[in-house]
Symmetry: C2
Subunit: 201 residues, 2 copies
DNA sequence: GTCTATAGGCAGATAGAC
DNA sequence: GTCTATCTGCCTATAGAC
């Protein structure tokens, strides 16, 4: 990825389509129409679709990791960090330039995870890393929160983090199927309140 | 769907492929190879791929609904019903005829939900119904369990049911990405224990 | 960097013989 | 019910001019 303006525009178009339809359901032709160039020109920037996919998820993972870093630096406690994380994924459903609720987008990481077996190996690798990184980050926040007394839950933080991540990703699919973005909020609010200590409930 | 032997064999092959790759990533050719007939013959049973998809998810939904009915009749309490439901989805990952752990399958309903925007309308309708039915069933079990004192959680049963369903479906994708079916178990066990009343924890 | 032109393959679907 | 043959259109990717 060379970070030229064109390649960024290609990635922007690809990300929107991948978040809505998935990696296997958009084509170089779709991209070409949106960016205003020819399909052959896209191959100049990304020789194969696997190259494109790898750049796409890598850029997305870097963005999410940045926000997580910010959350850790600026949020005072674990519950706030978790709320910030849920909001990050929610924001991804309706990015700045789009009409809030019904964009039809879901988290790119979750979408690619659902397509995992059909993905080129280089894309699979990045998806695996994305999921691992996010679950590990959540496990860290969860464990720290329990130690500090701002969260309360039984069992392993690892298992809780996996369940939480799975629920957030899955809730996007459920919300989209129902055509109701509010379902995502309702489910995540419930989850986060279930992790609050009895004193805060 | 006429329930002939051939059409059932087609649906069996289609279900396996759809659970692994998704609806958009298997073809009539894939089916023809597995069933041992020609693609044109499949069109005799299912004129369009949308017809096939509708029959596929309808059959699956009916099976899941049957198991849920059994669970309600035979299980003594809500925690047992929820464990049975989680086990049902887990069993779906590794059906009788396949090698347990790494079948690469996920719940058909979750897979189709992830492909929702690209699905033919008649398939979307059945997917919506599947998700609704399952969340409603879970909400009913959850509410009854709380009333009976065998479950403990705060907030709306609807929101809890959505979160639980989302978590179970999402955990399959996470487990598959990690190549570790045990992750599904770990996440669901944690979730169910989090719903247990303090006395049972 | 972007273009035209094209290759080679696969998709879903149909016509009509048997 | 299953077959052969075929249609039309889309896909990723490449060659080579500008």
């Amino acid at each position: 990825m060379q970070n030229t303006e064109t390649s960024e525009a290609i990635l922007d178009a690809a990300q929107e389509l991948a978040q809505i339809r998935g990696y296997n359901a958009f084509s170089y032709r779709d991209l070409a129409e949106r960016v205003g160039i020819r399909t052959a020109s896209i191959h100049y920037h990304f020789p194969t679709k696997g190259d494109l996919g790898r750049s796409l998820i890598a850029r997305y993972a870097a963005y999410v990791a940045d926000v997580c870093d910010d959350l850790e630096r600026r949020s005072p406690d674990a519950p706030t960090r978790l709320r910030g994380y849920a909001a990050l994924l929610e924001q991804v459903l309706a990015p700045p330039g789009s009409t809030a609720a019904g964009s039809g987008r879901v988290c790119l990481g979750g979408m690619l995870a659902s397509e995992y077996p059909t993905l080129p190996p280089e894309v699979q690798q990045e998806v695996r890393r994305f999921v691992d990184d996010n679950v590990r980050w959540l496990a860290r926040v969860l464990a720290a929160g329990r130690d500090a007394g701002t969260l309360a839950f039984a069992g392993a933080a690892d298992a809780a983090a996996t369940a939480l991540f799975a629920a957030l990703e899955g809730a996007m699919f459920v919300a989209r199927t129902a055509g109701d973005a509010g379902r995502y909020r309702a489910a995540t609010d419930w989850l986060l309140s279930a992790l609050a200590p009895p004193s805060a409930r």
